[in-house]
Amino acid sequence: MSQKYDAIIVGGGHNGLVCAAYLAKAGRKVLVLEKRHVLGGAACSEEVYPGFTFSVCSYVVSLLRPQIIRDLKLAQFGLHVLPLESTFSPYPDGRSLMRSADPAATRREIAAFSPRDADVYPLFGKAMGQLARFAKPIIDERAPDPSSYRPRELMQLLKMGKQFRDLGDDLGLLQYKLTTMSAVDFLAEWFETDELIAPMSCSGIIGTMLGVKSPGTAYVLLHHYMGEIDGASRSWGFARGGTGAISMAIARSAEHFGAEIRTNAGVSQIKVKGGEAKGVVLEDGSEIDARIVISGAEPRLTFLGLVGESELPNDFVTQLKRYKLRGSSGKVNLALDRFPDFKSRPGIGMHVRGDISIAPNTDYLERAYDDAKYGDFSKKPFMNIVFPSVLDPDMAPDGKHVMSIFVQYAPYHLKEGPSHWPEKREAFGDAVIDTLAEYCPTLKDSILHRQVLTPWDLEQEFGLTEGNIFHGELSLEQLLFQRPASGWAQYKTPIRKLWLCGSGAHPGGGVMGAPGQLAAREILMGGAC
């Protein structure tokens, strides 16, 4: 009989680590098992090329909850978030647009395209700020279950209803539109300039297999404004040392509170007996028991891969099978000999100290989506770029740079089948570099090393089923009380003593830490361990 733990957490991604830290802080004996040699899951940093550190997958701190930073004392454990100072959009014709925290400068930039839009921009920001205040509790609390008559659920629903009512007719309608409309339609009610709408709209499609003109994509626009009201904690930013530094800070905090963390310890099975989780079996065949098991892995992998269909109710299996993953993005990481100037705005200025969007117009973005819709990677993709080495010089040797390029669309489901990705990997990388070279003519000559990650690689290497970076599409019917399955959206599962704490649970993906924190809260509240 192996040693008994209160809780075993499957997967040492940032959510698993957050959950572990909270449980350990509450005095529970916790073991985290990570398959890879580094912690963080998709939030990891690695020296892929000598001297150059890459945030291999996830590359920005997106809405990391301020209370997590405080509760787990992450600053004390080495977390230092550098703000992303601007959003820069170059256009193929040599023009460009930079939006930054400086309202006057942003106004001048937008006015060069449309004085009217420059007037509207701050008004839009104000309205979105108000909505963000309404929506914020949604990501900071577990999802209510509308099908339940329990007092706790009814109270939470009533509270949400009242908050919605308090928004008033105009903002209430705006909130509804934001939830249902496409990002482009929503923005087009405010702005007239396509060059502005395009880069703004693409935050709505990141990680999804949808286009900027697909209904339901407007909602994610709000996340940017939620970050603003988190205020000084700067929840949108870049972690010094790369995204892995966040995971490392959380891991150190968890260990400080007494959690035990093992790497190179892949779980091959979650042991279930009589509908109750008993422990796990590792890839090396050894078994570890615990009072409860918590999975940070994606739900379909957790249940159909690690638990097994025969242990599960039919209805739940049906829901899991239709749970949409269909990853749509890839990542290209470059080690550069020198900084590749943008044709439209050379030099290392403020414009490259934030994120850079290759999204010249909405038709371009839709064409990129069309390629993916029919099973091909985008010939001219949407890209979101960060230069970590500009923000944190330690990421690369002196004078040299790392460039992180998030690329969409790279559909997991190629028309030839996903297993054909390895033979298309370099062609995909070439499409990315060729497109970028139109904006940065010297780029090709500066590349020392190129790492291309396709959705197939994300699945094989990081356990992201179908390469979905959010553990499941963030589409309307897979959010809130339906994430990952109707009736099972509160971290509990049909298997007693088995819980979920990853991005496949409410409120979903991104480096927020919210699912891990909320899962820990539910587990502790119910006295499950």
Partner: protein, 456 residues
């Protein structure tokens, strides 16, 4: 009771007139074209007409079971689609929601403005409860889906899907892979039932007969150019020959945008009203083609979808989305007594370069190419084509949209066309809206004119 004036002599205009007359108003209908009918000329199908609407007016029509939509694929007419895997089970699922969807169509949508009484919200809440908890949750899950994903779940093959999805898309600006298109498909099929014997022509004749019987005056070739408003109250209309007609009530069926942006002076709109109406989306994606055939086409099917599968359907939408000339439009054919009425899905209202004569000729050629694969085009005579631009200029359809406004989550039920207008009233006293742009959306229901007239 006073005088009422109805703008638009289409089916909804006539229905509104009949309803107003039955409530004691003295009613005049003004129609810009030479004959009444209007949108009825452009719609071939009566299966979504709601029986309650027909009964409430006491129309003299007979019902018959609707002809099935047959799909014409690369291998010709497919008569067995209904028997294909999953279809019967999926139809049972649709029927589960049909009662609620149909009862929603029989009343104004719930008022969700903050001045609404709680009791107004109880109706739909009660309907949901009646539907049952699991069905309510399922509706919330299905609504946001892509139509293709939803039908995939039922194991329906993608070629069969095309025939089920296409008829629901002509009132939207969506393809089968657009989220929320499942809701459009659900509503369309839930609203579908028996058809009227003799089709649209018989329905129109019955409406005209009933209107005459009720003493309604119908003026054709009379175009309204302005709605007169004084002190926040509609007082009548001015025709384009400068003659004025006074009325205590003006009920417009030409669409919210047409009415409030083109017929009402901006100064007469309530604060913010203009901006509100401008945001209503009316992007047409359908051209209409009519012709005679000397012998029955497509095996004599009365309703046929010409399209291979959902990929072709989605590509048709892509053409419209990118404002390209349709390359491979999906066609929805209605055939009756030697006449074809075809909805060409995938024709952008805002085609790049505009709908020039050359663009129109090109579309005509494309159509013939598609049709030639499935019928003898030599049997076609008297072909006529209306591009979305023609539909806008000749039929006053804003954006060339056949339903005065897209079906979308934010433009249906209490949101159609906008929460402040969804009660058929406009903020201008005595001015009502009652066309296809109002609730209920999802097909040609004949409900809007009646529901609006009841607000008078």
């Amino acid at each position: 009771m006073g005088t009422a004036l109805v703008i638009g002599g289409g089916p909804n205009g006539l229905a509104a007139a009949i309803t107003l007359a039955s409530r004691g108003h003295s009613v005049t209908v003004v129609e810009a074209r030479e004959a009444v009918g209007c949108r009825a000329d452009l719609l071939g199908d009566t299966r979504t007409v709601q029986p309650w609407a027909v009964e409430s007016m006491g129309l003299d029509v007979e019902w018959e079971s609707s002809p099935p939509w047959l799909r014409v694929g690369p291998d010709g007419v497919q008569p067995d689609d209904e028997a294909a895997e999953g279809v019967a089970a999926w139809r049972t699922e649709v029927a589960r929601f049909a009662t609620v969807v149909r009862s929603l169509s029989a009343a104004p949508p719930p008022n969700i403005q903050s001045d609404a009484s709680l009791s107004a919200l109880m109706g739909p809440a009660f309907a949901m409860l009646k539907l049952g908890r699991s069905a309510g949750l399922e509706l919330a899950r299905v609504g946001p889906l892509c139509a293709e994903d939803w039908l995939d779940e039922w194991g329906i093959a993608r070629d069969v899907q095309a025939g089920l999805i296409a008829p629901a898309l002509i009132g939207t600006w969506m393809g089968p892979r657009s989220p929320t298109s499942a809701l459009a498909v659900l509503f369309h099929h839930a609203l579908s039932g028996d058809s009227i014997q003799g089709g649209m022509a018989a329905l129109l004749a019955a409406l005209v007969k009933r209107a005459k019987g009720a003493g309604v005056t119908v003026r054709t070739s009379a175009r309204v150019c302005r709605i007169a408003v004084s002190d926040g109250r509609a007082t009548g209309v001015v025709l384009d020959d400068d003659s004025a007609i006074h009325a205590d009530i003006v009920l417009s069926t030409v669409g919210p945008k047409r009415t409030l942006l083109r017929l009402v002076a901006p100064r007469d709109l309530p604060m913010g009203g203009e901006q509100t109406v401008r945001t209503v989306r009316t992007r047409g994606i359908v051209a209409v083609w009519k012709a005679r055939v000397s012998e029955p086409a497509f095996g004599g099917s009365r309703c046929a979808v010409i399209g291979a599968d959902t990929v072709v359907l989605e590509r048709s939408f892509d053409d419209a989305k990118h404002r390209r000339a349709p390359q491979r439009p999906t066609l929805l054919v209605h055939q009756e007594a030697g006449r074809l009425l075809v909805h060409v899905y995938g024709a952008a209202h805002d085609l790049d370069g505009g709908w020039t004569d050359a663009a129109k000729v090109a579309l005509q050629k494309t159509l013939e190419t598609v049709l030639a694969e499935h019928m003898d085009v030599a049997t076609i005579t008297d072909a006529e084509l209306w591009t979305p631009a023609d539909l806008e200029s000749e039929y006053d359809l804003e954006g060339g949209h056949l339903f005065h406004g897209e079906f979308a989550l934010d433009q249906f039920l209490s949101f159609r066309p906008h929460p402040s207008l969804s009660g058929y009233t406009t903020g201008i006293q005595g001015l009502l809206l009652g066309g296809a742009g109002m609730h209920p959306a999802g097909g040609f229901t004949l409900c809007q004119g009646i529901l609006a007239a009841r607000q008078a």
